[in-house]
């Protein structure tokens, strides 16, 4: 191609849509790059100490937690998805969405709820003591330490696997299952010889989500005293005040995540199924009768009760006892803080998600695939790592901009402006949860054929007009789902908020956590309950629009 034609192409594509998208991608990649760069920086004696005495423990803790929770929640999610997708039984329709609801309960809230409920003074042991005159041997049912962390994380993260697997079973597998039936496979054989192998991409995708959530978790592990790399980053930061050592830990966590990605690649290798079966039609469910039907309902009930109803009811009970004491004027501030931070974060996420998805849809190429990768990379990076990258970046920015602050704002020279503002927290949210918004909008674009846009151009309409009048109305549902998902995650997010919030800025999540680690469990209930209700609201919005 001639140089003049190259230049012609560059001029054409460098419009404002494209430039803003690239800026967004830059903001997302900078903090992570910063963390990676810490490998090349000298470390202090703290790091030598951590490396010698603690690192092995942290890694071991993370690996055990990831391994057990990954396996258990994948199993539960998968079995439930199969039961709901392949069989007809009493209350199946209700369970189908009830089993997603546990997603609305942040695991750290479940952690303190369950650990209190199962303690000596908790409702379960008192019940047995007072009514059945039965004493548990100490340590039999208490939900604590590593066992507790595994239990809680499993119960509240399985919906990730459940949702993806269910969608897959319902939409993709009809033709396979029908042909298997004609070949005479029974129910169990069908699950093990067919359901499991064909759902492998969905299983891997779902368990990857669970693994990333576990690696990112701070609340549950710190509550139960499990040593993981994420909790270690906090301790190094707040205990030793050594941000360089914390950064080095974060960089090692990124190395582990890279390893997991490579493992995922390896597991998927050579197993490329065509998931886009063109005649995808719903699966005809087999009707269960008699005890098998009740068994199916019972399994769903057990999971729903333990992963939602029991802790929820307990929280209501505690809230009724304490709300008068807790409900102070600053409670309203907590709610506004949570809502405002989540709304702003989700709005910015939706904005960049639309821009990026559109750029990729408009100019499909290798570089736009890279853009998609960058946009979604945040979901794999634990909150603590994002936080540390953002903090380091903002402090550097403050140093570089220090000379200009006294001229623009009413501050003394040398004061920190950006790294003391809510902008830092919001940036963290945007990086961490961009994937939620982006994936939703991008899948929405698959339903808008390019010819709609082309027809609009040929009718003399500009790119911006075309977006608002043609693409936006057709994408509304997907944008809203992405918005609600990002909102939900931001509301629940703990580690990022703890690390990046401005001084004296509390949200429902941080206040709940504060009460819980101060052993004021009952007082933590009202804010937990509010947080859960707001989350349920977003889950309902997501489910309603996904049905359409």
């Amino acid at each position: 191609m001639k140089t003049s034609i190259w230049l012609r192409e560059i001029r054409r594509r460098a419009n404002s849509w494209f430039i803003i998208t690239m800026l967004g991608a830059l903001v997302i990649i900078m903090p992570v790059a910063y963390v990676v760069l810490s490998f090349f920086q000298p470390t202090g004696e703290n790091w030598e100490h951590i490396k010698e005495f603690l690192l092995a423990d942290y890694v071991k803790g993370s690996v055990i937690l990831v391994g057990s929770v990954g396996f258990l929640s994948t199993t539960i999610g998968l079995v439930l998805a199969w039961i709901v997708a392949a069989y007809e039984f009493p209350l199946r329709k209700q369970f189908k969405w009830l089993l997603i609801i546990p997603l609305a309960i942040p695991p750290y809230i479940a952690a303190y709820t369950y650990s209190t409920m199962t303690s000596y003074t908790g409702v379960i042991q008192s019940l047995f003591r007072n009514y059945f005159d039965y004493q548990f041997t100490p340590g039999t049912i208490e939900i604590m330490s590593l066992r507790g962390a595994v239990f809680v994380l499993t119960l509240f993260l399985y919906p990730y696997v459940y949702m993806i697997a269910l969608n897959y079973f319902e939409k993709q597998s009809a033709s396979y299952i029908e042909s298997a039936k004609t070949l005479g496979l029974n129910g169990f054989q069908m699950f093990f010889r067919l359901g499991l192998p064909i759902a492998r991409p969905a299983i891997i995708a779902g368990s990857m989500l669970v693994i990333f959530e576990v690696l990112s978790d701070y609340g549950v592990a710190s509550f139960f005293g499990v040593r993981t790399i994420s909790t270690a980053i906090f301790q190094t930061w707040f205990g030793m005040y050594d941000i360089n050592a914390a950064m080095r830990l974060a960089a090692w966590l990124l190395v582990i995540i890279l390893g997991i990605f490579m493992l995922e690649r390896f597991l998927r290798k050579g197993r490329k199924y065509d998931t886009n079966v063109t005649q995808s039609r719903p699966l005809a469910r087999k009707k269960l009768r008699g005890w098998t039907a009740w068994l199916a309902s019972l399994s769903c009930s057990i999971v729903f009760f333990s992963a939602f109803l029991i802790p929820f009811v307990q929280l209501i009970y505690w809230s009724l006892k304490t709300y008068e004491k807790v409900w102070r004027a600053d409670f309203i501030t907590l709610i506004t803080n949570s809502l405002v931070a989540a709304l702003i974060g989700a709005l910015i996420i939706s904005f960049f998600a639309i821009l990026a998805a559109r750029t990729i849809n408009l100019y499909p190429s290798a570089s736009s695939n890279l853009l998609a990768r960058i946009m979604t990379s945040g979901y794999a990076v634990p909150g603590a790592v994002v936080a540390i990258g953002v903090l380091a970046l903002f402090i550097t920015l403050d140093e570089k901009l220090a000379f200009i602050y006294p001229k623009l704002l009413d501050v003394e020279s040398g004061s920190l402006v950006l790294s003391m503002s809510i902008a830092m927290l919001i940036t963290g949210y945007v990086i961490r949860f961009m994937a939620q918004g982006f994936n939703s909008v991008e899948s929405g674009y698959t339903k808008v054929p390019p010819s709609y846009r082309e027809a609009s151009f040929l009718l003399g309409r500009s790119m911006t007009y075309t977006f608002w009048k043609v693409e936006f109305p057709l994408l509304r549902g997907s944008i809203l789902i992405g918005f609600a998902l990002a909102f939900l995650e931001i509301m629940k997010e703990l580690p990022l908020t703890l690390l990046l919030r401005p001084f004296n800025f509390d949200t429902l999540a941080t206040r709940t956590y504060q009460y819980a680690i101060d052993e004021r469990i009952y007082e933590a209930a009202p804010s937990s309950l509010l947080l859960i209700c707001l989350s349920i609201l977003s889950v309902i919005i997501i489910l309603r629009f996904e049905e359409k």
Partner: protein, 225 residues
């Protein structure tokens, strides 16, 4: 010449063979020209290049005396004044028939727009369907809406990409006649792409055969594949 294409080349990626290779041809004003070729022969790509939906790797296109693509020039699709009927019609599903037709009439004032809409609805005989949505219409009706929408802003040339491929065989001949009448009434220069010889026979003044991007001949020169 009304349309003057010189040495046009195009490929979808560097690894592939060019779909169109140094292709040149011309169209006179008011002519209805048909392009026939097997699928994959680059005939739809030719339309997309003319419309501004793909960028050529080399060559130039002139339309009505104006250079729209050259080494240093590229007029964007929305500024070319080209009308196009897509293979799948691409009617906006969230807009009614009249909203679809008025979509490209943004430069007109309201009374003028209304007048143009009525003209178009009359031209394609869809007056009673103005308030319907595309999914409430039959395939043939949808196609006429697409035609009306493309003609409404008075484009200098109309491009049609396999406009009959989605229609039932028994409807086809009837609709071909309708389209020919509409095109004659509208008195417009038209480039029409099809893989079906019968389509172009029924509609076009001149036929061009292309095969893998190289010009084979026109019927006047009596060269066929």
């Amino acid at each position: 010449m009304f349309v003057d294409i010189q040495n046009l080349s195009f490929r979808y990626s560097k690894k592939q063979q060019p779909v169109i290779d140094r292709f040149s041809f011309t169209i006179k004003k008011g002519e209805i020209v048909g392009i026939v070729g097997a699928s994959g022969s680059g005939k739809s790509t030719l339309l997309r290049l003319l419309a501004g939906l793909e960028d050529p790797t080399a060559g130039s296109i002139e339309l009505d005396g104006r250079l729209i693509v050259g080494d240093n020039t590229y007029i964007e699709a929305e500024k070319r004044g080209v009308g196009m009927v897509f293979q799948n019609y691409a009617l906006f599903p969230h807009l009614t028939v009249s909203e679809n037709i008025c979509f490209g009439l943004h430069k007109m004032k309201r009374p003028e727009k209304k007048k143009r809409l009525d003209e178009m609805l009359e031209l394609v005989q869809l007056q009673e369907f103005a308030k319907r949505y595309p999914h409430e219409l039959s395939g043939g009706q949808q196609q006429r809406v697409a035609l009306a929408r493309a003609l409404a802003p008075s484009p200098s040339i109309l491009l049609m990409d396999e406009p009959f491929s989605n229609l039932d065989t028994n409807l086809k001949s009837l609709i071909r006649m309708e389209v020919r009448d509409i095109l004659q009434k509208a008195n417009i220069t038209c480039l029409f792409v099809s893989h079906d010889q019968a389509d172009v026979d029924a509609i076009c003044d001149r036929i061009i055969y292309i095969d893998c991007a190289t010009y084979i001949g026109s019927d006047k020169e009596s060269i066929t594949v």
